[in-house]
């Protein structure tokens, strides 16, 4: 009755990182709310999946196991959540701001008429005063997110409707084991009671998934390129520098939109949030939505031909020059001095 539920995504039997990050966050929120942390996994062949989840502090793992529930499709998964939430009446539901969570969350919220806040960057618990109706609320979920292209940060609350739903992008929250020996309860839900045959209207006829190649989230050094790199070919230079320094290559949204690199390298509010010890920004002007995703880097170097590029204001080192000139020199002098 008084729980916090995390919808866990699963691919090839592995719980997604973003879901484990949300369990970690969910555990601390549940402690504050003094309620249970529960996980919901919907898919096929789920026996033993709880072993991946309990160490993050889940008190209950619900599973709904049916071959037709994997891969994900919108309506059957919506049906499970809507039915379960009507029974359990959770206070809060968290899901990843992924192509699954961002497809499922709105459909569930529409069905339950509960508020949903997309792409939160912070979640907190606090009171809320509705001055107009002279009502106060305790222990609401503050859903904090950027809006307006990142120029503002808004705190959203859902005073009346439950569950309070929020999605969070991968990499925004930290993943941390709560207790390796933590044990909760496994509750196997009968798919027949939660999904009806008529829900299976969308058919997945082909699926080409690849493991994420880039691991920019975990990289301690990131070489990132922006629209100023000019072309896909010029990005090769950044891959060379990254290989030399043991770094990963990231990019701004403008560079990804222009097709210079793959989506999974995008850094910023609409991509991944990173905190490396060194961030080398190459030809990145520094739109606010990019800065929001990398400003916590320990050291920032900006290489830009425009001395007034906005990113320079947050850089520790500003190199005014072209990327074509500076990057090969960085490679050359690193090789010369690192031996």
């Amino acid at each position: 009755m008084n729980n916090l539920i995390v919808y866990c995504e699963i691919e090839d039997g592995i719980i997604a990182d973003v879901s484990l990050e949300l369990l970690t966050k969910g555990r601390s929120l549940a402690n504050q709310l003094n309620c249970k942390l529960e996980a919901l996994v919907i898919g096929s062949n789920l026996d033993g999946v709880e072993k991946q989840i309990f160490p993050y502090g889940a008190d209950t793992v619900y599973t709904v196991d049916d071959p037709r529930l994997y891969p994900y499709t919108s309506i059957p998964h919506t049906s499970v959540l809507v039915h379960l939430f009507k029974e359990q009446k959770p206070q809060v539901c968290l899901m990843g701001a992924t192509s699954i969570g961002r497809d499922l969350g709105p459909r569930v919220s529409s069905s339950l008429h509960s508020g949903l806040t997309a792409d939160c960057t912070a979640l907190e618990i606090g009171p809320h005063e509705d001055k107009k109706n002279n009502k106060t609320y305790e222990n609401l979920l503050y859903q904090i997110r950027p809006a307006f292209g990142g120029n503002i940060v808004a705190t959203i609350v859902n005073p009346e409707c439950r569950p309070q739903m929020a999605t969070v992008r991968e990499g925004v929250m930290k993943k941390e084991i709560y207790d390796p020996n933590y044990k909760g309860e496994v509750v196997k839900l009968d798919p027949k009671k939660y999904v009806s045959d008529t829900d299976f209207v969308v058919e997945v006829i082909d699926r080409q998934m690849e493991k994420s190649k880039a691991n920019i989230k975990g990289a301690s050094i990131i070489v990132a390129g922006g629209y100023g790199m000019g072309s896909k070919e010029n990005f090769d230079m950044l891959f060379d520098l990254a290989a030399t320094l043991g770094a990963e290559v990231g990019a701004s949204r403008a560079a990804v939109d222009a097709g210079f690199v793959e989506h999974d390298r995008q850094i910023g509010q609409t991509g991944v949030t990173v905190r490396p010890k060194l961030y080398i920004a190459c030809g990145i002007s520094g739109q606010i939505q990019h800065i929001a995703g990398m400003q916590d880097s320990s050291i920032i170097i900006s290489i830009n031909s425009d001395p007034n590029a906005p990113i320079n204001t947050i850089a520790d080192y500003v190199i005014t020059g072209t990327v074509e000139e500076v990057v090969p020199k960085l490679i050359k002098y690193y090789k010369k001095n690192s031996k």
């Binding site: 499922l104 509960s114 508020g115 307006f148 989506h263 509010q269 500003v318 690193y334």
Partner: protein, 290 residues
């Protein structure tokens, strides 16, 4: 098979090109400095609609937008590129809507349109980036949804085959019609304006834009129905007042903070060899690299 296509579109401030004058000195947004544009992914959706119209002769495209009366600008923009007509859902009672109240209003308007095979829209709008309205409209209409669509491959036997672009790959699905399909920015870019269509539709107007026109002028609009854009209010779409606008929104904005990034003390370097070498040595010495 001819299709009745509805394209959901939004007029948004262009948050992608926030220039120096876009932020006021006190750190608040200078909305006047941001041009109002056709939401980019809605244009991708319009292109998919135009391709479907070409492949399925006799199809029609109706643009539906919710916003202030000036949102008629994007309807005209759509007509210039090949849409057939449009509706602006506009009423003070719609103001302050969150995604749920917005999708309720849009679903009422779609119900009034009544006859539709496909509802297309952008995956998300750049002012909020929520991606919620498409799926919520689908749920309210009780029809399936396909999000993150990159291409509608074909329509056959009442089903659409759609390629989706996900974070880690692509997926192809079939969906029975009617359905809501939201289109990704990675889909084909929208074709440019067509000069002939610009000539044909440049005087297309909504009732509020026609205010103050001479009777002679208004008569011309009666003779040319294609130039009449529609405006629908809460009453026109039989919407429940408790479910629209601020009142119909379960989410409330508790606080808004303007983002101002503090300038750091930064070291200024040039591309000169000695300066780059000194920087590299410094980074190696303090164990940042190497």
């Amino acid at each position: 098979m001819s299709l009745k296509i509805v394209v959901l579109a939004k007029q948004v401030p262009d948050t992608r090109n926030v220039g120096k004058d876009a932020m006021k000195e006190d750190g608040t947004i200078n909305r006047a400095a941001l041009p109002a544009i056709f939401n980019p992914e809605d244009l991708n959706a319009l292109e998919q609609a135009l391709q479907l119209k070409e492949q399925n002769p006799g199809s029609t495209i109706t643009l539906l937008t919710m916003g202030p009366p000036r949102a008629a600008e994007i309807i005209r923009e759509g007509l210039f590129r090949g849409a057939d007509g449009g509706i602006v859902l506009t009423d003070r009672a719609f103001a302050g809507a969150d995604t749920l109240a917005t999708s309720y209003a849009l679903s009422c308007a779609v119900r009034k349109i009544k006859d539709y095979d496909i509802i297309l829209g952008g995956r998300q709008a750049i002012d909020g980036d929520t991606a919620q309205v498409g799926p919520q409209v689908a749920e309210k209409l009780g029809i399936p949804q396909v999000t993150y669509a990159e291409q509608i491959l074909k329509i056959e036997n009442g089903k659409a085959t759609v390629k989706r672009r996900l974070e880690r790959g692509v997926e192809t699905v079939t969906v029975p019609l009617p359905a809501v399909i939201t289109v990704n920015g990675s889909a084909d870019e929208c074709r440019p304006r067509n000069a002939k269509l610009v000539q044909r539709y440049k005087y297309a107007k909504t009732p509020s834009e026609k205010q103050g026109l001479s009777e002679e002028c208004l008569k011309l609009y009666e003779e040319r129905p294609a130039l009449n854009l529609y405006e629908w209010s809460v009453n026109d779409v039989d919407a429940d007042l408790t479910q629209v606008g601020l009142a119909g929104s379960p989410t409330k904005v508790k606080a808004v903070q303007n983002v101002v990034f503090q300038a750091k003390e930064s070291k200024q370097l040039t591309a000169a060899d000695n300066e780059i070498e000194d920087l590299v040595k410094e980074l190696i010495a303090n164990h940042t690299i190497g």
